[in-house]
């Protein structure tokens, strides 16, 4: 079964340095890390202390909110260090890795023979549960909920995004098994969004509703797809996963092993020879990027340049990320840089640059703010990049003043920060929309739950 989702609003940002379809592996790191800060709103509680030995799949810490949600080690070795910040907040857990991994055996199982509670249990024990996020709020799903549907977007339209189809090549069987397992968890349907412009093995996956998505970014955002297929109402829960994590779950059922390996793209204008790499969850950024960057001031982003997090070389790659973007820092002045129609190496949705003359040009954008923050002035620009049926500016204003009733009425449950990433980008007044929405969602968690 398949349907079409056509997105008209949006903006494609073409950046230099897209990853070439070429796969290498990186040298195995001596230390891996898990950063609990990758999981929004999580309060981690340690299960191990420094010096403890772990196998792959052994729980390292759990979520204080729900003790069932465990976070397991991606490698076998020894807990080397627990890095704490202010108020003893756990920032990072470093694990010294063995030469080769020893896996904890969860036992191979056929999802078709299991009931929902057994599937849940296996996912929770193995550390696969955190792969499942929920909408609204964009946080780890609550295992006690039953979602009305599960959405997987295998079409990423963000700048420098990795190709899911390429990353999943050779893991078709795992992916299908993962889908089989997930479909046990919902009474509704599992939805799989694929690139509507090119067919792949994903079009033949069983047990899902295929959505052929076409359109500009954010067409690939799962929140946009949900809003077109089965919009979220107050009280609803929809679960979402990344395609590669579905394959990791499938692999767990096929082999009984938690094997969090992932194909990631190292991309961006300041990468020499951007391409794909196979890595294990928790690999340090420096182990991936060293020797592959253009010298100079770089910003390394775990994720794409619109929604990713700025990282330094000691951090691990983000738990949910499948791309590392490296772009130049932009801490430079530009003399009369605001004059219309000059400085055309910059990209703009408006036609106040001549960049509209070269729609296919790939841009080398840096991190310059290109202005200063101002009050809301321009109207109509946010609507151009917001395909969800909400009023983005009014929702942002309601969120800024924490007017809960209005936020609810204007559709806060239907959005995640990533859906506002393009608004961050295009805003003339440089409104930090993602930050505002994140804070608003956190407030809703606290007040409404």
């Amino acid at each position: 079964m398949s349907t079409d989702i056509r997105i008209k609003k949006g903006l494609n940002i073409k950046l230099k340095g897209r990853a070439e379809h070429k796969l290498s592996s990186v040298k195995r790191s001596s230390t891996f890390a898990i950063n609990p800060t990758n999981f929004h709103g999580l309060l981690p509680k340690m299960l191990l202390k420094v010096g403890d030995k772990v196998q792959v799949g052994d729980p390292v810490f759990y979520a204080k909110q729900n003790e069932q949600i465990k976070f397991t080690s991606p490698v076998s070795g020894e807990i080397k260090e627990i890095v704490r910040g202010a108020k003893r907040k756990i920032l990072s857990i470093k694990i010294a890795a063995d030469k080769t991994d020893v896996f904890k055996d969860f036992g191979a199982k056929t999802p078709g023979n299991l009931a929902a509670p057994q599937v849940k249990e296996l996912l929770l024990d193995s550390g696969c549960w955190p792969f499942i996020k929920q909408r609204p709020y964009d946080i780890i799903a609550n295992p006690e909920d039953t979602p009305k549907s599960i959405f997987i977007s295998a079409y990423d339209t963000a700048p420098l995004a990795a190709s899911h189809v390429y990353a999943l090549t050779g893991r078709e069987k795992e992916f299908q098994t993962g889908i089989d397992a997930l479909s046990k968890l919902t009474e509704g349907k599992v939805h799989l969004a694929v690139d509507g412009n090119s067919a792949s093995f994903l079009n033949n996956v069983d047990g899902v509703i295929i959505h052929n998505v076409t359109g500009k970014h954010p067409a690939g955002n799962v929140g946009v797809q949900i809003s077109k297929v089965d919009p979220i109402n107050s009280g609803d829960r929809v679960w979402i996963l990344n395609p590669q994590d579905v394959a990791i779950i499938g692999n767990l059922f096929l082999t009984g092993k938690y094997e969090p390996t992932r194909v990631i793209a190292l991309a961006g204008s300041h990468v020499v020879g951007p391409q794909y790499y196979t890595i294990t969850q928790g690999t340090k950024i420096s182990d991936i990027v060293d020797g592959k960057l253009v010298l100079g001031k770089n910003r390394i982003i775990s994720g794409n340049p619109l929604t990713g997090a700025s990282v330094n070389s000691n951090d691990p790659i983000g738990f949910y990320d499948d791309v590392i973007s490296v772009i130049p820092e932009g801490d430079h002045y530009s003399f009369f840089g605001w004059m219309p129609f000059i400085g055309n190496n910059k990209f703009s949705m408006s036609r106040t640059f001549f960049s509209w003359l070269t729609p296919n040009k790939e841009y080398d954008l840096d991190t310059n703010f290109n202005g200063e923050d101002r009050a809301f002035v321009m109207t109509g620009e946010m609507e151009k990049v917001m395909p969800i049926d909400i009023y983005p500016m009014q929702l942002l204003k309601a969120t800024m003043i924490y007017d809960i009733e209005k936020m609810e009425n204007l559709g806060i449950y239907e959005v995640a920060p990533e859906d506002f990433a393009l608004i961050d980008f295009i805003s003339t007044s440089k409104i930090e929309a993602q930050d505002i929405i994140r804070k608003g969602l956190d407030l809703m968690i606290k007040e409404v739950g």
Binding site: P159, N233, P305, I327, T367, G371, A375, E432
Partner: protein, 380 residues
Amino acid sequence: MDFLRKQLDKIQPHFEKGGKFEKFGPAYGGIETFLFVPNHTTKKGAHIRDGIDLKRVMMVVVIALLPALIFGMWNVGYQNMGDGHSFWDYFSFGAIRFLPMIIISYGVGLGIEFAYAIFRGHSVNEGYLVTGLLIPMIMPIDLPLWMLTISVIFAVIIGKEAFGGTGMNILNPALIARAFALFSYAPFMSGSTVWVADSVADGVSGETVLGELAANTIPDTSVFDMFMGYMPGSVGETSVLMILIGAALLLFTGIASWRIMLSSVIGASLVGLLFNAVGSSTNELFNFPWWQHLIVGGFAFGMVFMATDPVSGAQTNTGKWIYGFLIGVFAILIRVVNPTLPEGVMMAILLMNVFAPTIDHYVIESNIKRRKKRLQKVNA
């Protein structure tokens, strides 16, 4: 450039926290960001940002105003001197009259903006770059400079800063300046003698098309002259051709709303047609062809540069259709049925400025209702 940057870097510490001139930090910031787009980088949210910023937007509007501005200065000379002089004669005559008005408007307005920024400790906003040019362009050329000064002060303080500055105001500040001047100094703002420089002294007739119609005389200005702007009026507003050039730039760059411009023309045309159909023997304005309403009395200028002000206008796309349409309707309605106020355009825009939030409210309410209905359907 490098030299300038070095000088700024040298004095910058004085204006930072703990520096000698800490209080004047916002003023320094205002000048610095005018010269250089700052070296700020993204700290949270998206790591890359669109090249556009508010200064660039405002400058595009200023550029869009230039054709009308230059023509307006030429026309000031032309209206006073009549045929037979060179372009430069007309232009320099107009420039000598008009440049002081621009200087006053920018000087006084920006002075207040900077003072407020220092006083309130916020950064200087660039909104006044456009307002400061709009105000003299919609005033009569003979308006005494002290009246202009007071109008600017009123508009900036009461119209804008009292609400919190650029982006917060309810009414269009340039129109506030004009409305203030009209009601405070009516003899200098209306009638047959104010629209042409030195018209009394030089004995030049300076009645506008609408003024003549209101007096029930049929104007002898040709349609071509109306469109080209060879007629008396405020400096910026006479030439529809020049305004359309500006409009083209605003629409092409995506800065002004085409919805407002289009719907206001539709609204005005419909009301004009209605009056034409009704007709009147006592009010020539009823019989003035509907399409000619669109090219006189500052209608084009108002629709292109004033109604489209994003801050005081409707903010939703549906709201913009309604807002623009009603501006068109009221502009012609006021103009025709109240001959003492040929300035229907200004009144209509100010009126709809007040109602814009109400329009938006109902537009957004329909979105909210849709969402609630969906919820009810699921729960049912």
